[in-house]
Symmetry: C2
Subunit: 162 residues, 2 copies
């Protein structure tokens, strides 16, 4: 009791396809963290494929999306919301600025802070990115079914707030 009903990982053969002796995952079949990681990797792969042509990485997409939805927010606020360390975010923002997608406006009250905004080009690109992201999402929904897809969010958010 406690693990008997969980179906095992699909067995993989040496060459990745059906042929010889299959490998058993043992205890790994009952490690949520491992299954989570493999699932995230698969989803990430599809995301990467779809966004490669636009030269946008997942972190860049998340940054652009949050700036669009919170125009004028500071880098510290953005860093905290996305769990990206401030030094890494500074480099990421610099790249988006060089591409003319983001602008740093001098903040009114605090002259240390940069209020982040999308440029017109940034808004235009983000609209295209959202369209690609929706197609990616539709792909996942087709894979899981809408009901199962929706039921995933709540438990995953509980894990985020561990």
């Amino acid at each position: 009791m406690g693990s008997a009903k969980i179906k095992p990982m699909r067995r993989r053969t040496s060459s990745g396809e059906a042929e010889g002796a299959a490998v058993g995952y043992g205890e790994l079949d009952h490690r949520l963290g491992y299954v989570l990681r493999r699932a995230q990797m698969s989803v990430l792969d599809d995301f990467h494929r779809r966004f490669a042509a636009l030269d946008i990485r997942p972190a860049q997409y998340s940054v652009l999306t949050l700036i669009a939805n919170n125009s004028g927010l500071s880098q510290t606020a953005l860093s905290s919301a996305l769990a990206i360390k401030k030094p890494n975010l500074a480099v990421l923002i610099a790249g988006l600025r060089r591409r003319g997608l983001v602008k740093q406006v001098a903040s009114a009250g605090d002259r240390r802070a940069h209020a982040l905004h999308l440029t017109e080009a940034g808004n235009k690109l983000l609209a295209r990115l959202h369209a690609v992201a929706e197609a990616h999402e539709k792909f996942l929904i087709d894979c899981l079914g809408m009901a199962t897809y929706r039921r995933l969010y709540s438990p995953l958010r509980k894990l985020i707030d561990l």
Copy 2:
């Protein structure tokens, strides 16, 4: 329709705790890949904390577990099963071998191949690792509830096989 019922991400303030203006995640609230990533990071953090004292990383734990459950398997088979590139696996195995946890036995039929086995020390350590992993798992079950925990595996495995 199609996203209205999905509850949004918990709002984060600049300092990470309740204080000022909260940040909205916008479209990111409906990106399974993003929620999956954040969940995986949280779970990974707990795993890291618990295994740090034993100086074992997640990839090492998965390798030891698969060798224990498939004694004598080749590095190519292991590489394919865990989706670890062969060059990276070679380095990982070398480390486990230096620590006296794994041994590479000359394969009977094919003299190029290494049949992987755990040493006695490897088996002893793995038993301790599984105990720690079970405690970690219990923590996740306490967070989600057993029913929800169990229901996560099936859809996540579907995503792995995208």
